[in-house]
């Protein structure tokens, strides 16, 4: 029997890797992928809690998180296309038009 703690540690590690990727990469597509990574880390812990507490609510929450993540991906990619049309780069350090 795998313990609940192992799942939580795994989900934490995935979440931390997502945070590290979001803070250090300047490619906007990989930053969005890091956000997805963080959401998936949280999903793992929610499903694990749901299984070990024999309660369905955690899985319902995962369901909603997946829906919101899909919405976030659609909006984020539309923003990337709109940005790319104005300035052909995905490096967010070069997108500083609104800097005073």
């Amino acid at each position: 029997m795998v313990s609940l703690q192992s799942y939580i540690v795994l989900s934490m590690i995935v979440f931390t890797i997502g945070i590290f990727g979001f803070l250090t990469r300047r490619n906007i597509i990989i930053m969005l992928l890091s956000v997805e990574l963080m959401l998936n880390g949280v999903n793992i812990s929610l499903v694990a809690f749901s299984h070990y507490m024999q309660d369905m609510r955690g899985q319902i929450m995962v369901f909603f998180i997946i829906a919101v993540a899909a919405a976030e991906a659609a909006i984020g990619l539309a923003l990337i296309i709109a940005l790319f049309r104005n300035k052909p780069t995905v490096n967010i350090d070069e997108i500083n038009i609104m800097k005073g």
């Binding site: 795998v2 609940l4 703690q5 192992s6 939580i8 540690v9 795994l10 934490m12 995935v14 931390t16 890797i17 997502g18 945070i19 590290f20 803070l23 250090t24 990469r25 300047r26 597509i29 990989i30 969005l32 992928l33 890091s34 997805e36 990574l37 998936n40 793992i44 499903v47 694990a48 299984h51 507490m53 024999q54 309660d55 369905m56 609510r57 899985q59 319902i60 995962v62 369901f63 909603f64 997946i66 829906a67 919101v68 993540a69 899909a70 919405a71 976030e72 991906a73 659609a74 909006i75 990619l77 539309a78 990337i80 296309i81 709109a82 790319f84 049309r85 052909p88 780069t89 995905v90």
Partner: protein, 170 residues
């Protein structure tokens, strides 16, 4: 022994694939490693008796969202992006922040105590079917949040079209 072996493989693969996702120079490679990562996470859900979530993970995350990502990455011509440095200059600081967060949550993991369990034990779920039980809870107890999520998706669709379309000449 066998469950531990399975979990060990999937945990190691998930950590390795996550690191591969955030370190690749080419965004297409990142998206493809992410696809493999989602398959492994779906297998982990199967391991936790959440069959319906496995299907949703495969269909929505791997099937729909990553294809959307791949579509956009290939739409944008990113040839000249490959010359720039991979990480920002202050990446050791970010590593320290991430490790501090890992440590802070890690020391609290040992304090987890399972509270009173709900009524959906493995036998109950197996008898009625996971999709059946999830649907019952979703359409009775969580009907209103479900409707709100549908509105969120509608707003996202409209917002994506408005953001991505070209400006009309007036």
């Amino acid at each position: 022994m066998l469950p531990k072996l399975f979990f060990g493989y999937f945990a190691a693969a998930i950590v390795l694939l996550s690191i591969l996702v955030i370190t690749r120079r080419n965004a297409v490679h990142s998206v493809l490693w992410m696809l493999l990562l989602f398959f492994h996470i779906a297998a982990l859900y199967l391991f936790l008796n959440a069959e319906f979530l496995t299907a949703v993970q495969l269909i929505i995350y791997a099937g729909a969202m990553l294809v959307l990502y791949l579509f956009v990455v290939m739409l944008l011509n990113l040839k000249k992006e490959e010359g720039v440095s991979r990480f920002v200059d202050f990446w050791p600081n970010a590593l320290v922040i991430a490790l501090a967060l890992l440590f802070a949550i890690g020391i609290s993991v040992r304090a987890i105590v399972i509270g009173p369990t709900g009524g959906y034990s493995v036998d109950v779920v197996k008898k009625a079917g996971h999709t059946d039980i999830l649907g019952r809870v979703l359409y009775t107890e969580y009907l209103f949040p479900f409707e709100v999520v549908s509105v969120v998706l509608l707003v996202a669709i409209i917002g994506a079209i408005v953001l991505a379309k070209k400006k009309l000449k007036t």
